[in-house]
Symmetry: C2
Subunit: 331 residues, 2 copies
Amino acid sequence: MSAKKVADLPTPALVVDQAALDYNIEVMAAALPGARLRPHVKAHKCTSLARRQAQAGHRGFTCATIRECEGMVAAGLGEDVMLANEVLDARRLGALADAGARLTLAVDSAETIEAAVRGRVREVIIDVNVGLPRCGCQPHDAGRLANMARDRGLSVRGVMGYEGHVMIVEDGAERARQCRESMEMLVAAAADVGGELISAGGTGTYDCNTWANEIQAGSYALMDTQYGRQGHPFRQAVFVLATVISSPSEWSVADAGLKAFGMDHGNPELDGSQVWFCSDEHTTFSPPRSVGDQVWLAPAHVDPTLAYHEQLHLVSDDEVLETWTIDLRGW
Amino acid sequence: MSAKKVADLPTPALVVDQAALDYNIEVMAAALPGARLRPHVKAHKCTSLARRQAQAGHRGFTCATIRECEGMVAAGLGEDVMLANEVLDARRLGALADAGARLTLAVDSAETIEAAVRGRVREVIIDVNVGLPRCGCQPHDAGRLANMARDRGLSVRGVMGYEGHVMIVEDGAERARQCRESMEMLVAAAADVGGELISAGGTGTYDCNTWANEIQAGSYALMDTQYGRQGHPFRQAVFVLATVISSPSEWSVADAGLKAFGMDHGNPELDGSQVWFCSDEHTTFSPPRSVGDQVWLAPAHVDPTLAYHEQLHLVSDDEVLETWTIDLRGW
């Protein structure tokens, strides 16, 4: 164990509270054990963290990019990797399958089926639109696409459909109601498609989505302030550690800003303080603190926050236990 | 010259139109020749691009992070590098000065002056608050801090003061008025401080800030949609190239999202289209286009956009001319 102290970390630095991370992984593994959860690595982009999820019993993983798939396979976590996204050049994925990884690719059109064939991908899943205006075929079209894929020699593992529009509904009962609506569409499509997988969901619906037979949650492990408002049992585990570099008046400035936080869900939060705004390398907040103080800023959106950082430090109290590379960044 | 085509780039990819980049650099060098401009590398984080700015006559550069300073020196661009930001651990900067680079560090308090001394930094500039609630001492305190720095053996090169609150004012006349207010404070502080530098400004005030004797503009080289609305002569040079991966209904989905764009100034823009929203790896827009089409998305804020990408491709029409590493990322 390193004797490195949190106080000695150059800032900004991504820090993860080990106790909170362990707790979140345990709570989720109890709720959705083993294959009931297919953790989404896009939330953390870190194979060291994925390994903790695998140790908790989840052997299949969800990815959003080809680079994430490649990194998971390279880390020995390629037992059952699903790219829950469409691509038009699947050759790097076919190469992973050639090398022995189990790789499943989402398809939602004739073009993406042809890309899978050209890329030598073996297994696909039919991506069904369940209400979020994003990828996925119309539900009534799923059976036709499955037949087309099988005709082209692909194995069809089932359906996926991401109810992303439901994730951000803060009220739990309303979230459950909208989730049911989406999943009724997906279950109907599954009947047309066949195969064993009905893959859907996320941290926002992990507890109410009882229709999918695997849930693609990712944010639960580290959390963010947006999911924190939904009342789930998960704890905020990730923070950006920053140093107060200036306290010129009734505010202070910490040395972490727009290049340390995904900002689409708003400003980071600082316990007991009011965050005024972020600029490229700064967060201005009040009341002021002493120059040199360290502050722990909680990100509003975990996924695009992690994507800015090269590494994270696993910490316990004032001690740095391990440093993990965020090795799945980029494309 | 590479025969690589834009159509062959894996997406998302950062592309820079060479003609627009050259034009922007030329226009700025004509307006603020040589040392009148101290280009800010935080906007692009790319030493290959900084080298083009040096070739246009600007030999001094502005940085926002220690990593940016280190990278500029390593690239042979360390003739006069200013870290326009406060730090409490300046040892890596002192090491650059030890190795022969000219390194100037912003200070705004007794604590940051002591950090400069401890870090073996030789030259500092007094950072003055000119209205933006961020770093910088109160204007009336600048002379006292300069004396304190000199007493501690540091050389004081002058003052800097960033009128960042003025940058985002869309109306040119109002921008000029507010810029004058800020710069009158800075010029008064300069009289108390001494030294030769009055360093300030940015792309938003490069043409109206006639008080500073050097301007720290960065965004002008690549531009973004926010600065594009201010009526400056600079052209949008940087885009995120994305592929349409799904067109399931009255919208399309391109494969670039929250991890490819700084989002604090809002969604990217797509010529002739309405951008609906971004998610981690997707941008949904209408009207729909064909699956497989490439689209060029213009970022709303250049600095945090560049910080997400490992490289940029310099392009001319359908040809990729060069690929540059964005080598100043991180801290």
